[in-house]
Each structure stands twice: as C-alpha cells, then as structure tokens.
C-alpha cells in the first residue's frame, strides 16, 4: 500500500512535495529587487510619518495622515512580504476575518466608553433638574 508520503512524492512532475513550491507554482513571489524597492518605500513612509509629527502646521490633520500612512505600510507588508497578494485568497479571508474581529472589539470598547459618558451626561442633567 502506498504511503501518504509516497502519494505526495508522486503528485506530479516538477513538484517538490511538502514544500511551498507546489503552492507557489501558480503564485510567483516577487523578486529580490522588488522586495528591496518595497522596503525603501516603507522606510520613506516611516520617515514621512516622523517628519510630519514635527510640522506644527500639520497638527490639525496629523492623526488622519498618520492613520493613512500606517495603513499603507500595513497593507504593503501583508501584501508583499507576507505574499498575501500572491497567495490563495482563502488565506486572505482568514486573516481579514481576524482583523475584522479585532476591529469590532476596538469599536465595541469605544461604543461602551461613549455610552458610559452619555449615562454620566444624562445623570448630570437629572441632578440639575
């Protein structure tokens, strides 16, 4: 009886059983040059984040700018360095699911916090009446 490994070994010509090459036959990873370009872009974004932190004139829009820049870095690392852009879509769904739950926790806590302040506000009005 053929073993599990044997069946994998015979899975087809040109494959390397039990390795990522099987998956990556259809999902080519970027070249080293692309990785270096991505890293340079990420470093530049980080530099921009730090520079705008010190620019007084941008203080009004600092937080949205930082959120956008860090989101860009996040997506770039996940897409290129973690190969999610090139990998099976289902892996992306798994990770996005985790992110959505995390974001929901974030939103939920903020809603509770806001709700608490509303209760305080209503109580304050009741006391004045």
């Amino acid at each position: 009886m053929a073993s599990y490994r044997d069946s994998v070994m015979n899975s087809g010509p040109g494959t390397k059983p039990g390795t990522d090459h099987e998956v990556d036959a259809h999902h080519e990873h970027p070249s080293e040059r692309t990785y270096i370009r991505i890293a340079i872009i990420l470093a530049i974004i980080t530099l921009i984040e730090v520079v705008i932190y010190y620019i007084e004139a941008l203080s009004g829009v600092l937080v949205p700018m930082l959120v956008v820049l860090s989101a860009a870095k996040f997506v770039t690392v996940v897409g290129y360095f973690m190969h999610l852009k090139f990998d099976d879509r289902r892996l992306g769904w798994i990770f996005t699911g985790g992110l959505l739950v995390a974001f929901s926790v974030f939103i939920g806590l903020f809603v509770m916090q806001y709700f608490h302040q509303v209760v305080e506000f209503v109580g304050d009005i009741g006391r004045q009446i």
Binding site: A2, Y4, S7, S11, G12, G14, K16, P17, G18, T19, D20, H21, E22, V23, D24, A25, H26, H29, S31, E32, Y35, I38, A39, L42, T46, E49, V50, Y53, V63, V67, S70, K73, F74, V77, F81, M82, H83, D88, R89, R90, L91, I94, F95, G98, L99, V101, A102, F103, V105, F106, G108, L109, F110, Q113, V119, E120, G123, D124, G126, R127
Partner: protein
C-alpha cells in the same frame, strides 16, 4: 475509511478560485489545496490579531487618563520619537532580510539564506535591546506598571509585542542552527516561510503600535485641571448611583 482514501492518496487541485479546473497536480494533497501548516499559521495570526486588537483597544480607551487624573509621569514627558523611529526602522528592515532569506532558500542559495536569517535575528535582537533600554529609562523616570494607566497599558502592549519578537528571534536562531546542520534545504523553504509569516506579523503589529502609542500626540499634562475633572466625574457618579 474507504471514502477518505482518494482524498489522502490523490493530489488535490483547487475546486474554486483562479486555478480551478486547470487540472494541474501541483498542490499539496490536502482537502483545501493549501498546506496545513501554512493554513494553521494564518489561523494563528488571525487569532493573534484579536489578541493585539483587544490590547490596543484597551490602551486606546485609557489613553489620556493619566493626564485627566493628574498622576505622572506622562507619555508626553517620556516618549522619545527619534529613538523609537530607529527601532521601527530596524524592525522594518528585519522584514526585508526575512524575505531575502526566503528568496535565497527558494533559489537553493543555502549560504545566502543563513546570512539573511542571521541578519533578521540580529536585527530582532537589536530591537529587543532598544526596548529593554526604553523600559529601563521609563522605569528610572518613575513609570511602572502600577504608576498610572499609561504605565499599565504601555508596558502591557509593548511588553507582549516584545515577547512576540523574542519568540521570533528564538525561532530564527533555531532555524539557523538547523540550517547549519544541513536540515534546512530548498525543499524545506515552507518552514522558513511560516517563520517569516510570524516575523512579518510582529512587524505589522509594531506599525500599529508605533503610530498609536508614539506618533499620535498626547495632550499636555495638566494636573490641577485633570484633578478637578476627575473629582467632577466622581461627584457625577455619586449623583447617579444612590448611596455611593
């Protein structure tokens, strides 16, 4: 059991997605067509998102409480942006060395992969050293886990991230030793890719932490006004809850 045999003995192709119906026999023989270890790592990373999501959300709702209550030292007095920026840069570059290690191994460049794995672990160790120095500095300035809400949440979030980095460094050093003993070859590149996924995740968590904890400015410390604000909240609470 007989019904499962074909699943185990026959290589699977994607039933859905862009590769469906191509008939290529070049995917691992799993029910999903995705290597189980890789799938498991992504599931773990998704769960770790929830873990850090909870920590970061908790940090966010307590952000600025130290100033409100008037118990220092405050983040605006402690945080050193240039210093932390270098740490962020170091961790970012470690992600580059990690993908270069994987690319080298996939090209059967074993020496190159060892070099980049070592570089990644070294950069991770530099980051950890920087974090240790930062923690020590903060502690000498009077900030501890018990001092105020900033201390509690800051050390918890960054401490757990540091623990993840430490685990990553240990993992990479282990892989380096395995490689030096000849156990990490081109055929084993998935082992390195999975370690790389973990390492990049640690990097993206730091991207969020760096922005949220360090770069988004804190309000100025105002102990008297903060104290008054806290007292007002207490009075409000007493008015709302009878018998307090």
């Amino acid at each position: 059991m007989a019904a499962q045999a074909p699943v185990l003995n026959a290589p699977q192709t994607h039933g859905v997605g862009p590769d469906a119906g191509h008939g290529h026999m070049d995917h691992p023989p799993t029910s999903t067509g995705i290597d189980h270890r890789k799938m498991l790592m992504w599931l773990f990373l998704a769960s770790d998102c929830m873990f850090f999501g909870a920590l970061i959300a908790t940090y966010s709702i307590y952000r600025g409480r130290s100033e409100d209550v008037g118990v220092g030292p405050y983040p605006s007095e402690l945080i050193d942006i240039p210093y932390t920026s270098v740490s962020a840069f170091v961790l970012l570059m470690s992600s580059l060395t990690m993908v270069l290690a994987l690319a080298a191994l996939q090209k059967n460049d074993i020496r190159g992969s060892r070099l980049w794995i070592f570089a990644t672990a070294a950069l991770g160790a530099v980051f950890l050293g920087g974090q240790y120095f930062e923690f020590t500095e903060f502690y000498h300035e009077g900030l501890s886990l018990q001092t105020n809400m900033f201390g509690s949440t800051f050390f918890t979030v960054t401490g757990f991230h540091g623990l993840h980095v430490l685990i990553g460094v240990i993992w990479l050093v282990t892989l380096l030793f395995v490689s030096l003993r000849g156990g990490l070859r081109q055929d084993d590149s998935l082992d390195l890719e999975i370690a790389g996924l973990y390492w990049h995740f640690v990097d993206i968590v730091w991207i969020v932490i760096f922005t949220l904890i360090y770069l988004i400015p804190y309000g100025e410390a105002h102990s008297e006004e903060g104290g008054e604000h806290a007292l007002r909240l207490l009075h409000l609470g007493a008015a709302i809850i009878p018998g307090l």
